[in-house]
Amino acid sequence: MVSGTELARARAPGSTAGFMLSWVLPTVLGVALIAWLIVGVNWSFVRDLDFSVIYQYRIALLQGLLNTILITFFSLLLGLALGFAFACLAYVPFAPLRWLIAVYIEVLRDTPLVVALFWIHFALPVVTGITTTAFESGFVAMALQSSAYLADVVRAGIQAIPKGQWDAADALGFSRMWKWFDIILPQAFKIIIPPLANIALGYFKASSVLALLSVGELTTVAARISNYTFKPIETFTAIGIVYLCLGYFLSFLTFRLEKLFKGTQT
């Protein structure tokens, strides 16, 4: 391990490289930053800040936040169910099905969420004939894409279960279904909680991508308010703070959840 102090000691006195690295470079950068802040920034914007817009549109913003939370929660719930299904189906001894699942996972992992979203909203109705609202398209896009990531996570969780558990289940005469539902999946679930929490946080952030289709979540609402009131600084800063606080609250929660599960006996 190279700690910060260890590298700091690399700034040996007398060596030119050390001197450049420890004094000249930070000073030059600092001076450049301050000069840019003075010359490049038009500070008069501070006088025009008016955060009353946020209070005025609080109901719309709260509605947007609620939509963000709802769409994240329910699409991840569906994504997790699909992810478990795909991960289990990957154990079915029928190769074409496994290839199909592998292709599905790879395709959804390697395309941007916006593209999937617009494809579902504009292209899928051409194929199926069913039109969806923007909110439904957003929900489906997030559920499908998260299912691909979660299938990988669940598969890794299943692989992490010691072989002894499988053997023990067979030795005790568990049927195939009960082996999965009573022994393998509950243990896999405990293992996948940390990566699951990461993905959940990622999709909480990614839900703002749905604003490109005006799905009606927080970022959509903010964009509308800023267009209507010409107060982009206030609205976008406010929702940035909301995303930040809620994101850190969620990561705190998952940290507690992890600790809780670590306590229970596997």
Binding site: N42, D110, V115, W119, F122, K205, P232, I233, Y248
Partner: protein, 220 residues
């Protein structure tokens, strides 16, 4: 339903221009992100006091903010806050580079810290000057660890580059949606765009996954 390829061939130059701009945006914002990442990483490892807290704060802030919020903030608030005017292309590129810089800083820091301490002690015992210590001992070993996660960041960057279409940068996704709207052939254009993104990301993703699997094999 019919997949009408003739529309695609007719508008191929537009799509190619879109692909080109996507590639340019990805490379430019990657370059800016690497510079940001190196500076912030140096700040977290070497800095003290204000510089250290500034670097830590940068990473904590921009890893938690959604990319569209950063893009919208820079594009809509930029003209109000800055004296110089940023074009959509410039603000989009910078907005993509800002969060990637935060991720890269963490990758650089983790990579440097993963180099065994004994390597540095040995180099110091041999009397290696500090510059060569970093250049010859730490950097090559850290770089090897860092390459897969950096490729992961590149894939995320390619995916996020589609978001700058929201502020009117005419990259691949923007072209696909506009052409789809003009010709009412959404199905063809969006499918082609999805396939192109897939082909751009797939090779990188395969490398990253292979590396991950190798790491997992070590753990289990």
């Amino acid at each position: 339903m019919r997949f009408d390829t003739s529309v695609i061939w007719q508008n191929l130059p537009m799509l190619l221009a879109g692909i080109w701009l996507t590639v340019v945006i990805v490379f430019l914002s990657l370059a800016v992100a690497i510079v940001i990442g190196l500076l912030v990483c140096a700040g977290t490892l070497l800095g003290r006091g204000f510089v250290y807290h500034l670097s830590i704060g940068y990473v904590a802030l921009f890893r938690a903010l959604p990319e569209p919020v950063i893009i919208f903030w820079l594009y809509y608030c930029g003209p109000l806050v800055l004296n110089s005017k940023l074009s959509a292309f410039e603000s989009g590129t910078i907005a993509l580079a800002i969060p990637s810089g935060a991720y890269l800083a963490e990758i650089f820091r983790a990579g440097i810290q993963a180099v065994p301490r004994g390597q540095i002690e040995a180099a110091r015992a041999l009397g290696l000057p500090s510059f060569w210590l970093v250049w010859d001992v730490v950097a090559p070993q850290a770089l090897r660890i860092m390459i897969p996660p950096i490729l992961g960041i590149v894939t995320i960057l390619i995916k996020n580059s589609a978001l700058v279409s929201a502020i009117g940068v005419e990259e691949l996704f923007y072209r696909a949606t506009v052409l789809g709207g003009q010709t009412f052939h959404y199905f063809e254009f969006l499918t082609v765009a999805a396939v192109i993104y897939f082909l751009m990301i797939l090779p990188l993703s395969v490398v990253v996954q292979r590396q991950e699997r190798r790491l997992l094999a070590k753990v289990w």
